[in-house]
């Protein structure tokens, strides 16, 4: 079973099953509204895959993925606002929320986001580059463990506060009311469905990339750094570089997820990217099983789904239930839900040994 899962055939059939669910089953059984929600959850799952890599395999407790998610989201949102303004009143026009705020002139840093190509490049490169620079500064100084976690969380908090103060980025309200996504009207159900398909395809691609990284020599090295960083350094590796790669890849995934979140959900504001959303990103990963490939995906989807449906019915109780769930998983099941089959196997083996002993 294990060998099958690791074989090429096993991998391909796993992806085929995933594609069948995402592209076949989900659009069939979910209404347009629910499909949109599912696309939103998939965005969280894309972030989760990156956290699984950086935290689960690399041991970096990334408590501030909201920064990179937010960067991707705001970069995309700026382009969508520019495109809307251009469609409405011609090139160089000021987005509607700026007009309302009395800003007549387009700020210089907005100008390049009229270009779709520039926007996509920025989404892919800016957060990744920032994470790489940050990672180099932090990991070369051997900041790790709780210190790194606090640092990254503080960064998420600071980023949200910074954005609230930015009038030209919508301030507290953020950016919303997007009409077009690269020329397609966003309120057309067909386009919404297409957007869902794009998001699902990105999830599959991100999982495939994470799988390749895990199975490569780099993946083994990353686990080695996680478990015995000093040993790795004394073997002649610069351990900081190994961590930077995983951290930057996690930032890339978060940024892409943010960029998809904007057209899917239709709004991005500081409230979706600060400290609490950053912890929420982590929650699903912890519950699903951070060191596994699919645990973070399943965990993120489950937590997001539970939050939406249960909080509709029990708005106040849900928060407590969520906290309790987190505590229980961390205390009793540190490997997450994904570790249950393994644990069950161990219990079974123990019982078998006990019965053998009893009969002997």
């Amino acid at each position: 079973m294990r060998n099958f899962a690791q074989s090429r055939l096993g991998t391909l059939s796993g992806f085929a099953a995933g594609a069948a669910v995402l592209f076949g089953l989900a659009p069939l059984v979910l209404s347009g509204f629910r499909l949109g929600l599912f696309a939103q959850f998939i965005c969280y799952a894309i972030v989760a895959v990156g956290i699984g890599l950086a935290w689960g395999r690399g041991g970096m407790l990334t408590l501030g993925q909201g920064v990179f998610f937010g960067m991707g989201a705001y970069l995309m949102a700026m382009h969508l606002k520019m495109a809307d303004a251009e469609f409405r009143s011609g090139p160089g026009a000021v987005p509607d929320f700026m007009e309302l705020a009395g800003i007549r002139e387009l700020p210089a840093y907005w100008v390049p986001f009229a270009s779709p190509a520039f926007t996509i490049a920025a989404v892919l490169l800016l957060p990744t580059g920032l994470a790489a620079a940050l990672g180099l500064a932090v990991f070369k100084r051997r900041v790790k463990g709780a210190y790194f976690a606090i640092l990254s969380q503080a960064l998420a908090g600071a980023f949200a506060i910074l954005l609230i103060g930015q009038q030209t980025l919508g301030g507290f309200n953020g950016l919303s009311y997007f009409r077009y996504f690269f020329g397609f009207t966003l309120n057309d159900p067909v386009n919404q469905r297409m957007l869902y398909f794009i998001t699902a395809a990105v999830l599959l691609a991100v999982v495939a990339l994470a799988l390749q990284l895990r199975r490569s020599r780099y993946g083994e090295l990353l686990v080695a750094v996680r478990d015995a960083e000093a040993r790795v350094r004394f073997l002649g590796y610069d351990a900081a570089n190994v961590k930077v790669v995983a951290y930057a890849v996690a930032a890339l995934f978060a940024s892409v997820a943010g960029a998809l979140f904007v057209p899917v959900v239709g709004i991005i504001s500081p409230a979706s990217i600060g400290i609490i959303p950053s912890i929420m990103f982590l929650l699903g990963v912890a519950i699903g099983g951070r060191a596994t490939l699919l645990g973070p995906v399943v965990g993120a989807l489950a937590v997001a789904w539970a939050q939406t449906t249960l909080s509709e019915q029990f708005p106040s109780a849900w928060t407590y239930a969520q906290g309790l769930l987190f505590v229980l998983v961390i205390a009793l099941l540190p490997g997450g839900i994904a570790s249950i089959p393994k644990l069950a196997g161990r219990v079974r083996a123990k019982n078998q040994a006990r019965t053998l002993e009893a009969t002997a």
Partner: protein, 263 residues
């Protein structure tokens, strides 16, 4: 055997420490040590607790700051980063065997062999094990455990794996910190043979508390006491030194084992 090793014209030293001082906020853990390691020798560093043995190893491998000079093949190592020094061929083990417990023996060795791999090789999956890895597995007696997780290896085999990781990494100066701590009799003998086997074309330094093991395996001994070299030379020469007997060998066996346990 020890005398013949000394009477031969000594080859040029690979690693040379000159007047090395390590200062921990005013406390001199290592106070002006000179040391030379040569290929073909198993060089024991002994001394009571707090003598500065492990600190000296830390200094050589770039973990502890020091004044003075440490050169390998004539190249100054001071101020170089830990991984740069490792790449120069200076490898070390730790008092408690440090291996990658969640990876297999083969993966451990493959990582150790690959410090100079480029990004493209790293991002691909490993198809076959490099020859040095399979050879080394035989050499350290772990060829039956290639796919065993390092975390479940017996204590002694973990130590051998760690030594093997230095071998595949092409280290030619090996600094081993208490390699037989906690080993049984047979494992000690095997380790002794392994040390001489790998010392044939490398310089090996062993920090050790076990006097019997030292007498059986040392080609040369340096005794440290209070951060300074108390005596150096062959086993018999050093054992006969009255000062050494006073500070170290004179202590009862009971004290010695207590020291080893405390370390």
């Amino acid at each position: 055997m020890n005398d013949t090793a000394l009477s031969r014209p000594a080859p040029d030293p690979v690693l040379v420490c000159r007047n090395v001082e390590v200062d921990f906020d005013g406390f001199k853990a290592v106070a002006g040590v000179d040391l030379e390691l040569r290929r073909g020798e198993v060089h024991f560093l002994i001394g009571p607790n707090g003598a500065g043995k492990t600190t000296l190893v830390d200094a050589v491998t770039g973990l502890a700051r020091y004044t003075g000079s440490i050169t390998k093949d004539g190249e100054e190592l001071r101020g170089k980063k830990v991984h740069r020094i490792a790449r120069k061929g200076v490898g070390r083990t730790f008092q408690t065997a440090t291996v990658f417990e969640n990876l297999t023996v083969a993966q451990n060795l493959d990582i150790a062999a690959g410090a100079s791999r480029g990004p493209l090789t790293l991002l691909r999956r490993r198809k076959t094990l490099p020859e040095t890895v399979t050879d080394t597995m035989k050499r350290i007696g772990l060829d039956d455990a290639a796919d065993t997780l390092a975390g479940v290896l017996a204590h002694g085999r973990k130590q051998w794996l760690e030594i093997g990781m230095l071998l595949v990494g092409d280290a030619d100066v090996l600094l081993l910190d208490e390699p037989i701590a906690g080993m049984g009799h047979d494992e000690r003998e095997t380790t002794g043979r392994l040390l001489h086997d790998i010392a044939a074309e490398r310089a090996v330094a062993v920090v050790e508390h076990d006097m019997d093991f030292m007498r059986a395996n040392a080609s040369r001994v340096t005794v440290l006491h209070g951060g300074a070299v108390l005596a150096a030379g062959g086993v018999d020469e050093v054992s006969a030194d009255p000062r050494v007997q006073e500070v170290y060998l004179g202590t009862s066996d009971h004290q010695e084992t207590a020291d080893a346990a405390a370390a």
